[in-house]
């Protein structure tokens, strides 16, 4: 067994990616505040450093030095564990996403992805399912009505929206003929899948908005009714973990959208062939575009009411996803 190829390189890649995700998540909070501010005709954070660029750092320092409060009516072990579960689930999602081509580094061929899983797409679904535990358990263990209501909503919402999300992914699989994300990116060398699957893209985007509890589907939080939903009882670094998990989830989800529908690092091939790092830049640019969509939606839409939201999933989005899948399958079979 070659320790360097089989152990050290993946470990180093994983560490680099995790660090990048942490920074990305932290700066997503800054980016969102800045963007929202612009949508709302104000400046946003601009005190800490130029353009408020050090704001995430200041927030982190503040969160870390806050007093750790554990309310005494909580289920302590689960209460402390939940933010970690949330955060971990987000981080490991990125393991199968290719963010660049294979590069030569110090005489070794290194693929810019962590794991080249044959069933990468299923892995995404599986981890998405696990992600809800952090929220459910956090809400339940807080022993607070607001938290519990938030947790129940989160559970129902995440289970429900996994279905249209899975169906949208199936259409991708039918077209690309593989579950491997590297193959799917290769498949999009000519045209990104959004060209063939515009409806699938929309369904998937709506579903991940719901999966990551983002406005207009931020029902587990709904500050206007549930104060902070499942994180009402959390403060300090535990709250910060939830918070950064949410923003890192946005980054990761954007990466998934970019990989599956926008051509990943590959499309357009003219640009990504120039230099291996051009592929990485393309990938990042696409992620940023999707992130901008996230913020745009948040700054302009009111929240959907819970019952309407579930009805929308089961009575509209699901049938639509089925039709989309069936049409895709028939066309693929005929051609």
């Amino acid at each position: 067994m070659d320790w360097v190829t089989d152990f050290w390189i993946p470990v180093i890649k994983a560490i680099v990616v995790v660090l990048a995700l942490l920074v990305g998540g932290a700066y997503m909070t800054w980016g969102e505040r800045k963007l929202c501010a612009r949508f709302q005709v104000r400046y946003g954070p601009n005190r800490a450093g130029p353009f408020g660029i050090l704001q995430p750092l200041a927030d982190a320092v503040k969160a870390i030095f806050k007093e750790e409060i554990v309310p005494h009516h909580v289920d302590k072990a689960i209460y402390l564990m939940s933010p970690g579960i949330s955060f971990a689930a987000v981080l490991i999602t990125f393991a199968v996403i290719p963010f660049g081509p294979q590069i030569d580094l110090l005489g070794r061929q290194i693929g810019l992805w962590i794991g080249d899983l044959q069933v990468g797409l299923l892995y995404l679904l599986a981890i998405a399912g696990l992600g809800s535990y952090g929220i459910v358990l956090g809400g339940w263990s807080s022993n607070n009505k607001y938290s519990l209501l938030g947790a129940l909503r989160a559970t129902a919402q995440m289970i429900s929206y996994e279905l249209p999300m899975g169906l949208a992914l199936l259409s991708v699989v039918v077209l690309a003929g593989t579950l491997n994300l590297n193959r799917i990116v290769d498949f999009q060398g000519q045209w990104p899948l959004i060209v063939w699957q515009p409806l699938g893209f929309l369904i998937f985007f709506i579903a991940i908005l719901a999966e990551s509890n983002r406005s207009p589907f931020d029902l587990p939080e709904t500050e206007n009714e549930l104060i902070s939903g499942f994180m009402t009882e959390y403060g300090g670094i535990k709250f910060a973990l939830y918070f950064i998990a949410e923003y890192t989830a946005m980054v990761v989800n954007s990466a998934i959208v970019a990989t599956l529908f926008l051509g990943g690092w590959k499309w357009p091939a003219v640009l990504s062939n120039l230099h291996p790092l051009a592929g990485v830049a393309l990938f990042l640019a696409k992620v940023l575009v999707v992130l901008f969509l996230y913020v745009w939606v948040r700054a302009s839409c009111p929240r959907v009411r819970y019952d309407k939201f579930m009805r929308f999933c089961w009575k509209f989005l699901m049938p639509l996803a089925w039709v989309n899948l069936a049409v895709t399958a028939v066309i693929v079979a005929l051609i």
Partner: protein, 577 residues
């Protein structure tokens, strides 16, 4: 301006011989024991279906409970019937409750019980509303004194009569801690335990056709992101459906009315700023109009125009802000709210220049306004009005067709105007349900009768209609503002006669109302001819409108209840007073 009280008195005397026992100025005095039957008759036979104001006052030999009835019938809108009931038994005052006839009596009777200790027989839930259960005494009685009581009323003698003394002595210094606190007999503050709240909650089981489930009570507030201040609501939920809402008020209570009675007539004006802190100008307006009616004071033309301009600017920003907050409650992440605040800033700049303050303006005076404005101010005001006009259109474009908003707002919180009248609901909320009733039209004050404007109405009174109503009213206000800016006399006095710093107001008693942006703002004033009001009561639109919250919300979802609360548009400074 009063109704033909003589005719009404004659009619009542015919129907109930001996029920009207006296005539006290503009007020009919009705025998207490026959109050419910007379009230029922007034409502059902004579069409005076609207009890907007109910309060009381304390005289040395009696209590008086006063009522103001108005009518929603198009032919007798306008002046209503003021009547009162005398309660000579000061030790154990009782009055029949009118809650079975008017739901609007519910909160107001509770307030009177709270403040005066007058029991309303037949009231279903006669508990303190602004103070807490267990509070000693009833603070608006004349014999109740606050802990650092100094004098019956201002002007107080100097706290520093001998200037040689090293420092002024405050009331807190002169009065030892606890020395001036009144306790009930046998009360020991150290042994006091709060009265458990559990008795306000009805039985906590729901029988769901044999499936027994728990009633969940969720406590919203007093610290909650969307209660518009320190309002607390105990919401009973079955699943996520609201089964009951019990508002707990008074977290911001400061006994505005007692402060008013201690204060000089002029000194109350800045206090009215603090009632509805979103529309301080209009609170000034309402109070000043009331006192001027009592004094018979005339106002010069330029001052009237300035008053209307300030008032209508206030109305526009109040409505825009209400819409912005409404969307905030719908989860639109502050964007419309901050747009509304941007517009408010421009208006506040104008207020600041005219009055010296942005929020606590203290601008109106008896017989005029505090300061004149420059021609340049008027020019800029016109610019702001044009801008507001554009911005209202912009709001309309951005919000009116938003599908999520329509899905959440249509049919939610709807109530017929008849029911709203019964609950005493006034203002945009009432008009959105279809009743064309605007005090500026039906009982014009100031110079509103010279302006050309419409009273918009909508049909269902749901949240969407309330939104459209506010939009339409803001447009009408812009119309009024344009006319006012066109016609305002270029020069002229802004104050009739000398600036009165401490006027004496002729003895009298009246209830005067204006169309505040949130509804009917009424002032009930009793003067004994001195420099202070003998009784000063604020009938605040938010407080009475809040009484309809439960009826509007039951059966809707938890999320909707919050939005309905927002659509009623309350300000806690005014609710709690």
């Amino acid at each position: 301006m009063a109704t033909d009280l003589g005719a009404i008195e004659a009619q009542l005397n015919q129907a109930f011989p001996g029920a009207v026992i006296d005539r006290d100025g503009d007020w009919l005095v009705i025998e207490a024991s026959r109050l419910p039957t007379v009230a029922q008759y007034l409502r059902d036979e004579m069409g005076y279906d609207w009890l907007t104001h109910l309060s009381a006052s304390d005289y040395p030999d009696r209590f008086e409970v006063v009522y103001n009835l108005y009518s929603s019938r198009p032919d007798q809108q306008g002046p209503g019937i003021p009547f009162k009931v005398r309660v000579p038994d000061k030790a154990n005052p009782h009055v029949p409750s009118l809650t079975s006839i008017w739901k609007s009596a519910d909160f107001q009777e509770r307030e009177v019980w709270d403040m005066f200790g007058i029991r309303f027989d037949g009231h279903p839930n006669l508990k303190r509303i602004l103070l807490w259960e267990g509070f000693a005494g009833h603070p608006l009685r004349k014999d109740w004194h606050e802990p650092y009581y100094e004098q019956e009323h201002k002007p107080f003698p100097s706290r520093w009569p001998h200037a040689q003394q090293p420092k002024p002595r405050s009331a807190e210094e002169r009065v030892r801690w606890r020395a001036n606190v009144q306790y009930p007999q046998g009360f020991d503050p150290d042994q006091w335990k709060p009265v458990p709240e559990i008795d306000v909650l009805p039985a906590a089981k729901i029988d769901l056709n044999g499936l027994e489930t728990d009633q969940v009570y969720v406590n919203i507030g007093p610290q909650h992101p969307s209660t518009h201040g320190v309002l607390r609501m105990i919401v009973g939920l079955n699943g996520e459906t609201v089964t009951s809402i019990y508002p707990v008020l008074g977290h911001l209570h400061r006994n505005h009315e007692k402060i008013g009675e201690r204060n000089l007539w002029t000194g109350i004006i800045p206090y009215t700023d603090r009632l509805d802190y979103v529309c301080p100008m209009y609170n000034n307006f309402g109070y000043v109009v009331a006192v001027e009616r009592l004094m018979g004071q005339e106002v010069p033309e330029r001052a009237e125009y300035l008053r209307v301009i300030m008032g209508e600017l206030t109305r526009v920003i109040n409505h825009l802000l209400a819409i912005g907050f409404q969307f905030n409650e719908l989860g639109a992440m502050f964007t419309p709210m901050i747009y509304a605040f941007t517009e408010r800033e421009h208006v506040l700049d104008l207020f600041e220049e005219a009055s010296g303050a942005r929020m606590m303006v203290n601008y109106y005076r008896f017989g005029g306004v505090a300061r004149d404005v420059s021609d340049d101010w008027l020019k800029r005001c016109r610019k702001v009005v044009d801008r507001l006009d554009r911005k209202i259109d912009e709001f309309d474009t951005m919000l009116s067709d938003n599908e999520i908003f329509i899905a959440r707002a249509r049919g939610v919180g709807a109530m017929s105007w008849q029911e709203m009248v019964n609950y005493g609901v006034t203002g945009p909320v009432l008009r959105s349900a279809g009743l064309k009733y605007d005090i500026r039209k039906v009982e014009p004050y100031s110079i509103y009768d010279t302006f050309d404007f419409e009273v918009p109405t909508f049909e269902t009174g749901d949240i969407y209609d309330r939104y459209r109503q506010r939009m339409a009213e803001a447009r009408e206000s812009v119309k009024i503002l344009r006319q006012a800016l066109d016609r305002i006399p270029a020069r002229g006095p802004i104050q009739a006669g000398k600036k009165p710093w401490n006027p004496k107001v002729p003895a009298g008693e009246l209830y005067s109302r204006v169309e505040h942006p949130k509804g009917e703002l009424g002032f009930y004033l009793v003067s004994d001819g001195g420099t202070n009001p003998y009784r000063y009561h604020v009938r605040s639109p938010s407080f009475v409108n809040l009484g309809a919250l439960e009826a509007m919300s039951v059966g809707h979802l938890f999320a909707d209840a919050i939005v309905i609360l927002g659509s009623i548009d309350i300000t806690l400074g005014e609710v709690d007073r």
